[in-house]
């Protein structure tokens, strides 16, 4: 009798200890954020897991964006890949090209295939277009979308007695005053992203042939053929010589450090940097990135989004995709979108999130969050809202190998642009071969 009872208890315990893992569908989500942003991702998964009982999302951090992309590829080749993975802007062309190979399932395609309402129109256009294919069909699921903005140290500006500039012309008028007061006027953290890719978008200029790669596979970058771009970098070199702009190497944080320490008046960084610096003891504002009004005729154009999207990988079960769709819907809900916007400074990606922000008067209490969505939603651009160029991570590497030489005077602006174009053409041709 006693024996039977023990057995029954054991069975009972066994049943209840394993049953939850049988019933729950596991969704693996790999990401390439670390530190504060990584913690927020874990928090999102936790909130979703607590909101329902059927699905468990398991987030796994793989290091940086680059690390996560190569880890995802290695896992795919080994047949052990996650359902959902975060890939950054420069890798978008690589991921979109994988739809036809059956590696990536497009977001809208997954909806059609499994009869799930993915509600693609809910995403704001500048974000949606960046991760869509040539027909405008969404492939990647927008997630952490930032754009480059200008952070301004108001204490310095007040002391010097100048206003925040909206154009580079205005910056040139005040830079010497800031320098004379003993501060660095300007630092910026990313040559390729801020002062190359987004120079082109901010001034409504095409960056590659083939309509930024949206109409045809691009064969070359247009750096040396764009006089406006050459003028800009000629100016940058001048500023550097005059001490108006300080370059601290290619490290993101090394360039941000003088601003964090209250030594630099302006820093160009990501709107997603806001969450990490909001508690610093400096009095700063966020502003749209300046533009040359001489180039655009006084008009401001939207920038490209940066950051990353999540991509759905093929090779899992229908049940798991249905579960993933629920998670995507959860992340795209106005509340979660605004939560992420508020915590990190990344922009809202859904229309619902934007409306909710208006409804609750979010920007009245947090005006600094408004900069990025406003800059992204500017109208009138005739170029596509992104670029589809393969091997872009390596092209960024070529930019890093040539542009700093402009500042040291080793290369003239024209020569540096020419060499970058040559390097980029070879890499684009290499990529085109595999399509």
């Amino acid at each position: 009798m006693k024996f039977i009872r023990t057995k029954a208890v054991a069975l009972f315990l066994l049943f209840f200890s394993i049953s939850p893992s049988f019933a729950k569908t596991e969704i693996h989500w790999w990401y390439g954020n670390s530190g504060f942003l990584g913690d927020v991702i874990i928090e999102i998964a936790k909130r979703f897991n607590e909101s329902q009982d059927d699905i468990v999302v398991i987030p796994t951090g793989k290091g940086s964006y680059e690390d996560n992309l190569s880890a995802t590829i290695a896992a795919y080749r080994a047949g052990d890949h996650p359902h959902y993975t975060q890939v950054y802007d420069a890798g978008a062309a690589i991921m979109v090209a994988q739809v036809k190979n059956g590696v990536v399932i497009g977001f809208e395609e997954m909806g059609e295939k499994y009869g799930i309402d993915v509600n693609a129109d809910n995403y704001i256009p500048q974000v949606k277009n960046f991760y869509a294919d040539a027909d405008g069909k969404m492939i990647g699921v927008p997630f952490n979308s930032s754009t480059c903005i200008m952070y301004a140290n108001m204490d310095i500006l007040k002391k010097v007695g100048v206003d925040v500039p909206t154009t580079y012309e205005e910056f040139e008028e005040i830079a010497q005053k800031i320098k004379d007061a003993g501060y660095i006027p300007l630092v910026q953290s990313h040559d390729p992203w801020i002062w190359t890719e987004n120079f082109f978008s901010r001034h409504n200029l095409l960056m590659t042939d083939g309509n930024n790669g949206f109409d045809d596979v691009p064969t070359k970058t247009l750096f040396s053929e764009t006089p406006e771009f050459i003028t800009h970098w000629t100016k940058v070199k001048e500023w550097h010589d005059k001490g108006w702009y300080a370059y601290k190497g290619r490290g993101w944080g090394d360039n941000q450090a003088p601003f964090n320490a209250g030594e630099a008046a302006f820093w160009f960084g990501s709107s997603g940097s806001f969450g990490g610096i909001k508690d610093l003891p400096i009095n700063f504002t966020t502003n749209q990135i300046p533009y040359w009004s001489s180039i655009t005729g006084g008009k401001a154009y939207p920038t490209f989004i940066g950051g990353a999207a999540n991509w759905i990988l093929n090779g899992h079960t229908e049940e798991e995709y249905a579960a993933l769709a629920k998670f995507i819907k959860f992340m795209g809900s106005p509340e979660m979108d605004l939560y992420y916007h508020n915590t990190t400074g990344y922009t809202v990606v859904t229309k619902g999130g934007g409306q909710l922000a208006e409804t609750i008067n979010f920007y009245r209490t947090s005006p600094y969050h408004k900069t990025a969505p406003e800059q992204l939603n500017l109208e009138g651009a005739t170029i596509p809202g992104g670029y589809r160029a393969g091997n872009w991570p390596q092209i960024r590497e070529v930019i890093y190998e040539n542009f700093p030489k402009i500042l040291t005077g080793e290369l003239s602006v024209e020569e540096a642009m020419k060499r970058t174009d040559e390097g980029a053409s070879k890499l684009l041709a290499q990529f085109a071969k595999t399509l």
Partner: protein
């Protein structure tokens, strides 16, 4: 005398099997794969694959930044080997003379050897950071040191970071080498020659040649392959790609740029270079060394 022999012809293969399997999986298979990648063009996920002939090699060799990396790699290996061998030898000779607290000296000098290159890089960062680096501040006050803009300053940064760890390795081997030299030889030389410097160069150093030769090979291998972690945590190629070694460039192209063809071709070129260096060492240098 009784001869021990296996009865079956196949028994020895069973004993060899574990090693062979491990070597095949972790060494031969990747080499075959590298050759396959080097001669194919493919996208990041392995699709669109086709035979490319020598295209990847042409692509790599026509890349100006590859030649920059090649040049830097040789400069780097040469300087690191010279600095770390000579300082290692100096410390070993001095430590060998110490009578009190010998093991304390030894332990302290050996410590850095156990540190991983990536950690060495992070440590070096603390010395060369513009914001809080002691050496940055010192050098900057001397000649306006700035490794983000000046190639030679970036070289100095990496020379110091790369040699520091290796001095320990050289130290311990030189010390062991010094202790194998027979007392009687040293005593005899004491009678013949009063100059300690001359005694060192004519007696001690030649007797250390096998150790030196071994260490030169070890240091070259280190400079070629292990400095990867240091570069990735310090300059990342700053100021503008001049401080990438061949291994680092292959990594950047293969795992950041996701171009496995180019990375495969670079690996094979590197393999050939190492092969040539090894042949030169063993044929021409080793012949002049006398093992006792």
């Amino acid at each position: 005398m009784k001869k021990v022999q296996f009865k079956s012809k196949y028994t020895q293969y069973i004993f060899l099997a574990p090693t062979l399997i491990i070597i095949s999986i972790f060494l031969y298979l990747p080499i075959v794969q590298t050759f396959r990648d080097a001669f194919t063009t493919q996208d990041a996920f392995g699709f669109g694959r086709f035979f490319a002939g020598w295209d990847n090699f042409k692509f790599v060799l026509s890349d100006p930044s590859y030649l920059v990396a090649l040049k830097f790699t040789f400069i780097y290996i040469f300087v690191i080997t010279v600095i770390s061998c000579s300082l290692g030898l100096l410390l070993a000779v001095q430590a060998n003379k110490v009578i009190h607290g010998k093991s304390a000296y030894k332990t302290l000098l050996i410590w850095p050897y156990a540190i991983a290159p990536a950690v060495v890089g992070v440590t070096a960062q603390y010395f060369f950071s513009e914001r809080f680096g002691i050496l940055y501040a010192l050098f900057n006050s001397l000649w306006g040191f700035d490794w983000t803009a000046n190639i030679f300053d970036a070289y100095i940064y990496l020379f110091i970071a790369g040699s520091w760890k290796q001095i320990s390795a050289n130290f311990i081997f030189f010390l062991a080498g010094l202790q194998t030299i027979q007392k009687s030889v040293i005593e005899a030389s004491l009678i013949d020659c009063r100059s300690s410097l001359r005694r060192f160069w004519t007696i001690t150093f030649p007797l250390l040649m096998p150790t030196t030769f071994f260490l030169v090979i070890i240091n070259i291998t280190y400079g070629f392959f292990d400095t990867f972690g240091i570069i990735d945590t310090t300059t990342i190629g700053a100021p503008s790609g001049e401080t990438k070694t061949l291994v680092y460039k292959a990594y950047i192209d293969g795992f950041r740029g996701l171009d496995l063809g180019a990375a495969g071709a670079q690996s094979i070129i590197m393999m050939l270079l190492v092969l040539i260096i090894t042949i030169i060492q063993f044929r021409y240098i080793e012949g002049r060394i006398h093992y006792n």
